[in-house]
């Protein structure tokens, strides 16, 4: 259920793959409605003809040399996995 803005917290939470309890959704709805109300002040500004900014010193087309180098071994890459076997990450079955 949505609050005082177009944001429907319960719906967006599903998109973000975060389960929320009903209570949590209710609190977040109120808090985020407040934040969205606050950011409405941006509508007061005329931004006609202004390009979307990034930062002070933009850099473009950054490439490294396409050269092989040492990086993680498979063992290192798997070292933090909650579940692993046979050099692979293990997850619940996806395909029937």
């Amino acid at each position: 259920m949505a609050g005082n803005s177009d944001l429907d917290v319960a719906y967006v939470a599903r998109l973000t793959r975060i389960n929320l309890t009903e209570d949590e959704a209710k609190i977040f709805q109120k808090q985020l409605d407040d934040v969205l109300k606050y950011v409405e002040k941006l509508r007061q500004l005329d931004v006609t003809g202004v390009d979307a900014g990034t930062h002070a010193l933009p850099v473009f087309n950054v490439f490294r040399d396409d050269a092989p180098r040492d990086w993680f071994t498979a063992e290192q890459a798997l070292s933090n996995a909650p579940r692993q076997a046979n050099g692979l990450f293990v997850v619940p079955k996806v395909v029937e």
Binding site: V9, V35, L36, G53, H55, V62, P82
Partner: protein, 492 residues
């Protein structure tokens, strides 16, 4: 000097002592460990220590290297090989870094010794360190108050002599604001000046790593080591790096400093305002010319920030899904259940709120109204600074509108917490550099609470703000004051 006074030293002083062989790197580590054991139970600055590894490195440290034998605290969002990198989140439970961040590689190459990982707001989202899912960090000047955030552990550790220097990260003020609230020096370099390879990403167009130190000279010493181009970070700049220490020597005659009239707003604590007014006079008496300037976009900075930062966070934090590292919910029945419960159980409330808000402002139908408009206003804010910097060399403001607030005072109202960053956020949006340096104390409930002076500089002009901050610092005694928790440690 040896023994219990050792941890109170600046990096520069410790360096001389080490090079004269009056103290050994192992004795330094021992002194620090004793200090931490004596007070960190009450302060809570550190999430983890690796004394054993530090001791091994101390035994073979080369003290003639630029930071040889100096132990460092690292915010627990920067990867240090073999140590945890929890981001103060349950979702990285059990994670150990399989590599060193570029800044850590550079510190090691300069002889420094990573010693421990400091507390923060979960994924650097917050202004009080209260959003840490793992530990409560207190302000060393008054343990009932917050240290600021998100680099609150780094700032508290340096202020309480539990570290000689620390690294933090600053996305909207997360180095400068806790430095101000704890009475130490904090520098946010220009976007792209310091490599972020190995920093866990929060908001990629805003994040920057920088030093937290006891003195401005120490910040310059660290910048000399960590600044510069890194092919591993595509936003890293290849412009040459100044010798920040050498540049400190200059005096302030002819330096033009701007005071933005929009920064002297209502809501600034009167004691903070008085301290800043006095600092402006002091800078003037040191030879700097003071000029009023205008930054009309100031009042929009927080709104822009909470759209852009949350949008970028929602994308960056998608990687924490319980598959490749960290926490995974028990007995997932399928992938959606694994994702949904891992992220529910692993993330704290502020992180969830920001991911949800960020996903919303990027979603079809709302993108133009929120995200695109915020990016355009961001450009206006950048232009404000560019035109101010045509008239002045650097800008002066408070770092925070208030001194340290009470633990729990602002947690129920995220918007109130966001407003704590009003003076620091615009620098991240514009990509410019900024520093906070101690400039006085507020008296509250019979406690002295530090106040920070912020200097903002042109892109890549770190040398200038360090120079001004150093000249100011050396003409005052604020940086010599020590919090009661550090000064009262009993002699052994």
């Amino acid at each position: 000097m040896i023994g219990n006074d050792l941890p109170a030293m600046s990096i520069a002083d410790l360096q001389s002592l080490l090079r004269r062989r009056e103290v050994s790197p192992s004795e330094v580590i021992d002194g620090l460990r004793e200090r931490i054991e004596a007070i960190d139970g009450n302060l809570g600055a550190y999430l983890s220590l690796d004394v054993e590894a530090a001791m091994k490195e101390a035994e073979r440290a080369n003290v003639d290297l630029p930071l040889g034998g100096i132990p460092f605290a690292i915010k627990d969002i920067i990867n240090v090989m073999g140590q945890p990198c929890s981001c103060a989140s349950k979702i990285l439970n059990g994670y150990r870094a399989p590599y060193d961040a570029t800044v850590v590689q550079k510190l090691r190459a300069a002889g420094a010794i990573p010693f421990g990982k400091t507390n923060l707001d979960e994924f650097a989202m917050g202004s009080s360190t209260e959003n840490s899912a793992l530990k409560s960090t207190r302000n060393p000047w008054d343990l009932s108050r917050v240290p600021g955030g998100s680099s609150g552990g780094s700032a508290a550790a340096v202020a309480a002599d539990e570290a000689f220097g620390a690294l933090g990260s600053d996305t909207g003020g997360s180095i400068r604001q806790p430095a101000a609230l704890c009475g130490v020096v904090g520098l946010k370099p220009t976007y792209g000046r310091v490599s972020r390879f190995g920093l866990v990403a929060f908001a990629s167009s805003l994040d920057q790593i920088g030093p937290v130190t006891k003195t401005v000279r120490d910040a310059a010493l660290i910048m000399n080591v960590i600044a510069g181009h890194d092919p591993q970070d595509s936003t890293s700049l290849s412009e040459p790096v100044a010798d920040y220490v050498v540049e400190l020597g200059n005096d302030l005659r002819g330096v033009r400093l701007g005071v933005p009239k929009e920064y002297m707003i209502e809501g600034i604590d009167p004691q903070v305002r008085a301290a800043i007014d006095a600092a402006v006079k002091q800078l003037n008496s040191l030879g700097a010319e003071i000029i009023e300037v205008s930054l009309p976009g100031t009042e929009y900075a927080i709104a822009v920030y909470y759209i852009i930062a949350t949008a970028e966070a929602s994308a960056n934090l998608a990687r924490f899904d319980g598959v490749r590292y960290g926490y995974r919910a028990e007995n997932p029945k399928d992938m959606l259940d694994l994702y949904g419960r891992t992220r529910e159980e692993g993330f704290g409330p502020e992180v969830k709120r920001r991911i949800i808000l960020g996903t919303y402002v990027l979603s079809s139908g709302y993108y133009d109204a929120y995200y695109l408009r915020a990016q355009k206003v961001r450009e206006l804010i950048r232009r404000d600074f560019a035109s101010a910097f045509e008239k002045v060399d650097a800008l002066i403001s408070p770092t925070s509108p208030v001194a340290a607030f009470k633990v729990g005072e602002r947690v129920a109202d995220p918007l109130q917490m966001y407003l704590a960053d009003i003076f620091t956020i615009a620098a991240n949006l514009a990509g410019i550099c900024g520093i906070s340096v101690p400039c006085g104390f507020a008296e509250l409930d019979a406690h002295r609470l530090p106040i920070g002076l912020q200097l903002l500089g042109k892109p890549l002009d770190e040398a200038r703000i360090l120079q001004v901050a150093h000249a100011y610092e050396q003409s005052t005694d604020w940086h010599k004051a020590r919090p009661p928790i550090a000064a009262d440690v009993p002699k052994q």
